[in-house]
């Protein structure tokens, strides 16, 4: 928390430089078939109130019974965050009234959460890495959903989300810029997706962030913070922090002070505004839920879950660097999604790891991004891409032809070896054939030949002509050597 201040991260105000201090509460929807305390489905997009049991609607006499899988998912997540797992935790009632909360309270965990302190290693775009402390993770129920735009004087309430399990993951105020905050959420999302404990789909609301922002002069104690509620995309998290930090700086530099409050970010207007209506309601009167016994399990249960965890992104990245000779940056790009990492490994196995990384990152990811596809929908399989790399490695095709081959396989499919045969794409290494082409070009361009003796950079033009004449199939090294010899260029 009191790490040395990095001057590059300070925000310039009118009078001073300011340090922004950020902590986050991430609400991550637990991946499970049914809800935390009822047997209703968690599926997205059902008809209104169709995924609702009498428990979720808080009908009198209904009792909550906990979903064992949601508990396991919370423990797995805690392990993935290198956090302390509490063998005994307690569910409490957080009391408040809102139409999408039929119980009149949310079942949550207050004093004794299932997961305690942990940490997340976050890589920043400039290559720096920071460790962000996790304060706790607890299990709680999601609320229903209110629609306010259906009628002028009425709100429409759908309880399908009511009772779905959430993990609230609370970070320490360890973040010092919007970049760090965005990188933290991105990394947390990656870890959750690797673990399979939350799908991380922010568009569907599976991952939402409450962002606590305060500013201070470097070296000063923490300033008063404001909480920006329910920011639902990584881009908006960055914008909300920048906007809020500047608002606070302007107030303080004008001689004012910040009042602690909850605010909403409006991306359309690019501003945060106070949620005045909720201020007075912040008295939740937590108490242990008498319907639920403490949640207890033994260390053997935790160890069993730990043994079943997949390789996590940090470990995978280190292995890619060590085993495949990748740069930390490339390895980071590849492990950002488990499916990308799996694809890469299938391509790289038994091949040149760096060449495989170049093809996957530059050609494949570039093309997928352009088409708006994810890796699962890639028209080129790992096997096909591997074959293309094999063909280059064996000298059968040139790197340039390989890109054409990639295009053909992308749009038409097929076995790359067969495509190369069928379309005569093989590289010409036969010096005789190349020589014929070279001689012809030299004979046709006596002026250029004369110039080339003075200006060796003209060699490039001759290479281009030769490649054109051979349909790009000539071995570039052979072309270069022949031309140099014939033009008398050193």
């Amino acid at each position: 928390m009191n790490a040395p201040v990095n001057p590059k991260k300070l925000i310039k105000g009118g009078l001073h430089d300011w340090e922004v201090v950020i902590g986050m509460e991430i609400h991550a929807q637990v991946t499970s078939r049914s809800k935390l305390f009822s047997g209703a489905s968690t599926a997205f997009g059902a008809e209104p109130n169709d995924n609702v049991s009498l428990v979720d609607a808080a009908m009198p006499g209904m009792l909550p019974v906990i979903n064992a899988e949601c508990v396991a998912q919370a423990v797995r997540t805690g392990l993935g965050l290198k956090a302390q797992i509490n063998l005994r935790s307690v569910f409490d009632r957080k009391n408040y009234f809102y139409p999408d909360l039929p119980q009149g309270y949310q079942i949550s965990q207050y004093k004794d959460p299932i997961v305690g302190a942990g940490e997340v290693l976050v890589d920043l775009p400039d290559g720096e890495a920071i460790t962000v402390g996790i304060e706790r993770l607890h299990l709680e129920q999601d609320a229903g959903k209110s629609l306010h735009d259906q009628a002028p004087n009425l709100s429409f309430v759908d309880l399908n989300r009511s009772g779905v399990a959430l993990m609230e993951i609370v970070s320490r105020p360890d973040l010092r810029s919007s970049e760090e905050a965005k990188a933290y959420v991105t990394k947390l999302r990656t870890i959750l997706r690797y673990l399979g404990t939350c799908d991380g789909d922010m568009e569907k609301g599976s991952l939402r962030a409450d962002v606590n922002v305060s500013v201070r002069r470097p070296g000063d104690p923490l300033g008063t913070r404001c909480e920006i509620k329910n920011v639902n995309s990584i881009r908006f998290i960055g914008q909300a922090i920048e906007t809020e930090a500047r608002r606070q700086i302007a107030i303080i530099e004008d001689g004012g002070s910040i009042s602690q409050e909850t605010r909403l970010f409006d991306p359309g207007k690019g501003e945060t505004r106070s949620m005045r209506s909720k201020e007075e309601a912040h008295d939740y009167r937590y108490f242990p839920d008498p319907d639920l016994l403490p949640l207890e399990f033994d260390q053997a249960y935790v160890d069993g879950l730990a043994a079943g965890l997949p390789e996590l992104p940090d470990a995978k990245k280190a292995r890619f660097v060590a085993d495949f000779g990748l740069s930390a940056y490339d390895a980071g790009v590849l492990v950002a999604e488990r499916s990308s990492a799996d694809y890469y490994e299938a391509v790289a196995r038994g091949r040149d790891g760096k060449a495989a990384a170049n093809w996957v990152i530059n050609e494949l990811f570039g093309r997928l991004n352009k088409e708006g596809l994810n890796i699962e929908a890639s028209p080129v399989s790992a096997g096909q891409l591997g074959s293309i790399i094999d063909l280059i490695g064996a000298g059968t095709i040139s790197g340039k032809i390989a890109k054409d081959l990639f295009e053909i396989v992308w749009s038409e499919g097929g076995d790359p070896h067969a495509v190369v045969e069928a379309r005569g794409m093989k590289q010409v290494t036969d010096t005789g054939a190349i020589e014929t082409a070279v001689d012809q070009i030299i004979a046709q361009n006596p002026d250029k030949v004369a110039q080339a003796k003075e200006k060796p950079t003209l060699l490039g033009w001759f290479v281009g002509q030769t490649m054109k004449a051979t349909g790009g199939k000539a071995n570039p090294a052979a072309v270069n050597a022949l031309l140099k010899a014939k033009l008398g260029i050193e």
């Binding site: 049914s34 209104p48 109130n49 609702v52 979903n67 508990v71 139409p99 009425l154 309430v157 016994l293």
Partner: protein, 95 residues
């Protein structure tokens, strides 16, 4: 421990119970009587005693993760004063 009139009004508001000004005084008396009654427990020495959560030692019952309920939107909204397309309709609440 005792509550003043202001606390009574606050508790009533938090519980969304309408309490008239005439009722505040009597309620304050009743609440303070209850608190005084419960306060007798303070005389018991519970140093080092674990809070009891159940009369018989038992573990919390857990369910398997299976969809066993839902698909009854009509029943869910059956008692609602106003509904449309199986939504509950409530007076407009907006931030």
């Amino acid at each position: 421990m005792s509550v003043d009139a202001q606390t009574v009004r606050r508790i009533a508001h938090l519980a969304r119970i309408a309490v008239s000004e005439e009722e505040v005084g009597p309620l304050q008396g009743e609440l303070n009587a209850i608190l005084a009654f419960v306060e007798q427990l303070g005389a018991v020495d519970v140093e080092g005693v674990e809070p009891m959560t159940s009369v018989t030692p038992m573990a919390m019952k857990k369910r398997e993760d299976a969809v066993t309920d839902g698909g009854r939107a009509r029943e869910i909204v059956a008692n609602a004063p106003e509904t449309e397309d199986h939504y509950f309709l409530v007076p407009k609440v907006i931030e």
